[in-house]
């Protein structure tokens, strides 16, 4: 195994909402340019884990975490400029949240924050990101229309384009395909395989087969515990953990 610096490293990470423990003592590493899957039943702490990585815990009163959580070799709590940390990390939420802006402005939002002003440059970024999110052909004639007027699946792809627009080194996807049709999901999956060259992807998914298609390694979360981390195939052969195998084969609960 090559000893590259892990892009994400958590050591004994625990997450609590008030007294309620959402994740207890998870430890694993995510390597650069890896697609790292996270699967597990509802309420197992998957979303909570993603929230820690870009410090979204600040939005949720009562949410606390302890242990180590490093991004790019640096503890996420040590960042003095939280916003700079978040700019390194793109996030896609399970349900699309279109900002109340046009399609164009949604995608140009982050680049503008980063100080990009030139029209030509913005145009190029917007087009590139929309193409990557497999949305360009459908919206190229209505860039000025409100993002919220797109269909649910289109909005989700818009949020993917938006997440890519900040050129993140890490992309966090939380059940991105919930509102997307199967054909488009496949197209986005192909895009993710390409994006892997440029960034590290953490893919939380309820679709076991999606993890199997995409993820190099996959963690299995169960009731707030990280039960196993292994090459994805190992989940299906039972080499990882018998509970993981039960879950992926649908023999659960």
């Amino acid at each position: 195994m090559v000893t590259a610096t892990p892009e994400i490293r958590v050591q004994n990470l625990s997450i609590q909402y008030g007294e309620k423990v959402a994740l207890a003592g998870a430890s694993f590493e995510v390597m650069p340019n890896e697609i790292f899957g996270i699967i597990g039943p509802a309420n197992s702490g998957k979303t909570s884990f993603l929230k820690v990585l870009n410090r979204m815990d600040t939005f949720t009163p009562g949410m606390r975490f302890s242990g180590t959580a490093e991004v790019g070799g640096r503890d996420v709590r040590s960042w003095r400029n939280l916003y700079a940390l978040r700019r390194r990390i793109g996030v896609v939420f399970p349900l699309p949240v279109g900002l109340p802006l046009s399609v164009y402005d949604n995608v140009a939002f982050a680049p503008r924050l980063a100080g990009v002003r030139g029209k030509a440059e913005l145009d190029a970024i917007v087009e590139r990101c929309l193409r990557r999110a497999a949305l360009w052909d459908e919206v190229k004639d209505r860039l000025k229309a409100l993002g919220s007027l797109l269909s649910g699946g289109q909005q989700q792809r818009l949020t993917i384009a938006r997440a890519l627009s900040q050129e993140p080194s890490i992309l966090l996807l939380d059940e991105f395909s919930i509102a997307v049709d199967p054909v488009t999901t496949m197209r986005i999956e192909d895009v993710l395989k390409e994006l892997k060259q440029e960034m590290t992807i953490v893919l939380v998914t309820n679709l076991v087969q999606q993890a199997r298609r995409l993820a190099d390694r996959t963690a299995f979360f169960l009731m707030g515990e990280c039960v196993s981390v292994s090459p994805t195939e190992a989940l299906f052969t039972g080499d990882a953990d018998p509970r993981a195998r039960d879950y992926v084969e649908g023999r659960f609960g």
Partner: protein, 304 residues
């Protein structure tokens, strides 16, 4: 197989059906009565005021600063000074209240956390509940000597005094409404924008304020309406003397205060009485125009 025809006993008017009908009639009466009251008031004011028609000289009314309805030899009804009084006081009040209350609303809704926010909200609402006489009293007994001392002027009951008082009065209401408008913007927008690396202020300026602009505009216009229609505090703090103000230290008299101070002393149906009602029509019309403008602007925003 059972008979698939619906049982006729199922289709009957039950309690829920009747209470629905009853409630819809009640709320209809509530809604319609508001309209009837407005029309009634409008008709009453108009009838009383239009009797002034025979004394009506547009040139004098809108061109003269001399408001002397009780003069025996030469009663004049120029409202220019009164309009200027109301406009200057309201204008100054808005100059003070708009930035302060928008700032306060943004702080409470976007920046303050936990207890600070709750305490501030309650305080602002308490401020909004202070009766206008009390504000007038503050203008009279605190601001008046303060202005005289600070600026070395002979009298402290002036545009500055009443503008400040009116601004302070309007600010809490504007703050509350503006804050509601900001709170109505879904948190998911804020989270999405912050996840893109936007700072609090960037989120506020680029996402929240544009999304809340209708509500914010409503807040400002409501404040203007409040200032425009306020009577007691202005009566007490403005000096109540007829003047075209040329500096913030001039005493002025407002339209509303004029009506309040003089109506009790006029004989019903006299020209003076009718002239005061004419001022009422003017106030009514301007308020109506402000509301109409707000409505049109809001509609325009919705379309665009």
């Amino acid at each position: 197989m059972t008979d698939r025809k619906a049982d006729p006993a199922v289709d009957r008017r039950d309690v829920a059906w009747w209470s629905d009908k009853a409630v819809s009639v009640l709320v209809f009466l509530g809604g319609i009565s508001a309209i009837l009251f407005i029309i009634g008031i409008f008709v009453f004011i108009t009838r009383e005021g239009f009797g002034f028609g025979e004394h009506f000289k547009a040139g004098e009314i809108f061109g003269s600063t001399r408001w002397a309805p009780t003069s025996d030899s030469n009663p004049t009804y120029g409202i220019l000074a009164l309009v200027a009084g109301t406009a200057s006081v309201t204008g100054l009040a808005m100059l003070i209240a708009v930035p302060f209350s928008l700032g306060a609303a943004i702080y409470i809704a976007e920046f303050a956390k936990g207890r600070t926010r709750e305490v501030l909200k309650v305080l602002v609402e308490m401020l909004a509940a202070i009766p206008s006489v009390v504000w007038g009293f503050i203008g009279l007994t605190i601001m008046n000597p303060l202005i005289i001392q600070t600026f070395d002027v002979p009298i402290g009951l002036c545009v500055l005094n009443s503008g400040l008082i009116l601004g302070l009065m309007a600010a809490p209401i504007m703050t509350t409404i503006a804050e509601d408008a900001l709170k109505a913007v879904p948190d998911s927008y804020r989270e999405a924008a912050e996840a893109l690396g936007a700072t609090r202020w960037q989120v506020t300026r680029r996402v929240v304020l544009p999304a809340a602009r209708q509500g914010l505009l409503a807040a400002v216009l409501l404040g203007v309406g409040r200032g425009f229609g306020e009577t007691m505090a202005v009566l007490m703090a403005s000096g109540h003397s007829i003047n075209l103000p040329t500096s913030p230290f001039d005493s002025v008299r407002a339209l509303t205060a004029t009506i309040a101070a003089e109506l009790g002393e006029t004989a019903v149906g006299s020209p003076h009485y009718q002239a005061l009602f004419m001022l009422g029509i003017l106030l009514f019309a301007v308020t109506f125009l402000i509301n109409l403008a707000a409505d049109l602007i809001v509609r325009g925003i919705r379309k665009g």
